[in-house]
Symmetry: C2
Subunit: 406 residues, 2 copies
């Protein structure tokens, strides 16, 4: 099989960890696989380099910051290649440019335009293990670009697609994605197969194992992602196309995010364009709005409530107070002690009453629901932060997530 | 004027030093010059990266070591570009590959094959200051290569030639090349103009301001090198073609190197091929032999004496003892407390008796000469290390080097 492996910063964090990572590469090589290995910078290195750029100039240009940051992965790729060679394996490193990874010109958060994998294919066909710098490419003008935080996952998936690989193995410090956080629910179970859609929801809900962009890309090209442990040689979670087995469980997992704050604009005139009027200044300030709920209008007035991440709360409140008058709102209220709990599952599509089960379970537990949003495969509620652990335990139990998968 | 500037590791050693370096670049830019700036890695960075490679594998491949080392200059080039932009100047960084610097495949000590300066010229013509990573290029297979220690000087001179620059300004922590070491002879004088040939002798004799290769290259293409201070905006030493003025002084300077050891092979049969027999095992051990003197043969037997750097002395003695029998030598003797003192000057060509003045000066000072070699523009003697300071003072005086240049 042809496999793309991806190792993050922790796996590259120093000589000892790189030796362990090389041992995994060798193990898979000895299983007869052709391997392209995508690596991140050593843990902490990207932050160190970024601090250096900012020490030089708080407003350092994204183009030159990219040139600086790109050295992080170049170092770790070289070191892994050196270690693989020490183990007697044929290996060589490739920068993003050498790997043919072409991006647009949005430095600091570039998008991959295309990959010309000729050099990598030639190396693989020559029996060589290709070690490729993640997170970076080269723009149309030949300048080094970076893909933004978590970009190495995206590099790996994109490369797997370009190489027509059989799978993209993403190594992490956990051995897969769980039905919920095992620190809260000890009975939480590893999910063996999870659909791209569900994984997208998990990823965007704060499960930090996979970057959202990389899942979207894998879904588009149907590239299986194997989320697996860099500590134990066991099967992890396979992120892949929805299959019949998956239909059996109506809920796959419970995700949560404590880092939420909610803001309500009270009594604003309910007319077209009002939502865009509310969110334009927030978006201009580069603040990411998460859940949005607009209540039913009474007497031509409506309330809009939305959540932002907790660190953006003070700035967002400030912006809302500034714009309150412009929008003819009666008032602004907010609190930063809320959290988000979601149930996720492609099975919801074919199972009625899943949301109702969720609401009743929370009600029975005496937990007040402050906001609700739903998508086709997810129901999210915003609740008080102090109820999060209890809510997760109750939901995990209600949907029988601790039971063996059928 | 179009000028290539080169700044070494000390000038790039941290944020504060990079700001000072950028101020120099701005000063020359404001004088109306088109500038291509070649930079080394931050002081200590190349050694840190090399130590990391060796920690990974003592025998790390030169190819991957180059990938690792090249990040050093990439960081400093990006940081200098960031600082120049902060000062409101138009600047961008270029890696060796982006600058079109093509080398052969001798990784770790690659030689420049050609430079395609198209991108740099375009940047300069666009009013941009080009900041280029020294020390590195790309080989014919597209892999990153490095030029070996001091390679940034060579990068700068080669780039100056390719860009048809008016001069190559090399910034150092001294303000030029002196008639001798001012720490030994306070009357030592800065040499305003020095020929390439003389500079080559100074460089190869241990004056650490310029790398020998870069001087050879500048000489071949008649590129003037301006050796100047990064602390004071004063005229330094111009390394250029020999001119009539230079002829007036018969000796330009006195160089020395304390780091010498001498070894004598006694009573070996004087027949063709014996020298190669002596030096083959030394060269095989990657030991650099410096001065070689073969004495007149007596009764078909001869003595060969040569010097090596002091750190190679124990290994060289060991090798000589091993091969003593093969070469039918009567014995091996050596000492590691010798030093080398040279007088240099293109004027020697037209002035008789320069060597004789040197020998007499040393004899009058009671200094014993152990070995002598001469070239067209240099006389070197090997003496006891304890006599070095005295010898330099006497010679500096004897050749009137403290006098104003005519």
């Amino acid at each position: 099989m042809r496999i793309v492996q991806k190792f993050g910063g922790t796996s590259m964090g120093g000589v000892a960890r790189i030796r362990e990572t090389a041992a995994i590469v060798r193990r898979e090589h000895e299983r007869g696989h052709q391997l392209a290995v995508v690596v991140s910078a050593m843990a902490g290195e990207t932050n160190r380099l970024l601090a250096l750029a900012h020490e030089m100039d708080e407003y350092a240009s994204p183009e030159e910051t990219d040139v600086l940051l790109a050295t992080g992965e170049q170092c770790s790729a070289a070191l892994l290649a050196i270690e693989l060679q020490r183990l007697g394996l044929k290996a060589r490193s490739f920068t993003g440019a050498q790997a043919g990874l072409l991006t647009n010109n949005s430095h600091g958060r570039a998008r991959i335009e295309s990959i010309d994998p000729g050099h990598i294919v030639a190396a693989l066909d020559d029996g060589c293990i290709a070690v490729i710098t993640g997170f970076q490419g080269v723009d149309t003008a030949g300048r080094i670009s970076t893909l933004g935080r978590g970009g190495s996952d995206t590099s790996a998936v994109a490369l797997a697609i370009a190489l027509k690989a059989d799978a993209c193995d993403i190594y992490t410090d956990v051995d897969g994605i769980y039905t919920t956080d095992p620190r809260i629910v000890p009975e939480a179970r590893k999910i063996e197969r999870i659909s791209y859609e569900e994984m997208l929801e998990f990823a965007s809900l704060g499960a930090k194992v996979l970057q959202t962009r990389s899942v979207g890309l894998a879904m588009k090209y149907r590239m299986p992602i194997h989320l697996r442990s860099s500590f134990h040689d066991v099967r992890g979670s396979m992120v892949c196309e929805e299959d019949e087995d998956m239909e059996k469980a109506c809920v796959t997992g419970v995700a949560y995010n404590r880092n939420e704050a909610k803001i309500t604009l009270q009594g604003i005139p309910d007319r077209p364009g009002i939502a865009s009027g509310v969110f334009a200044p927030v978006s201009d300030a580069d603040i990411n709005v998460d859940v949005i709920v607009q209540n039913i209008s009474e007497h031509g007035l409506t309330d809009i409530t939305f959540t932002v991440s907790r660190e953006d709360y003070p700035r967002t409140m400030e912006i809302m107070h500034q714009h309150c008058a412009d929008m003819n709102a009666k008032g602004v209220a907010g609190s930063d002690d809320v959290a988000k709990v979601s149930i996720i599952g492609v099975g919801m599509r074919s199972h009625a009453g899943v949301a109702q089960t969720m609401f009743r379970t929370l009600a029975d537990g005496g937990i007040n629901i402050e906001m609700i949003t739903t998508s086709e495969i997810k129901v999210t509620v915003v609740i008080s932060e102090r109820d999060v652990d209890k809510a997760i335990r109750l939901l995990h139990q209600a949907f029988e997530l601790d039971a063996e998968q059928a």
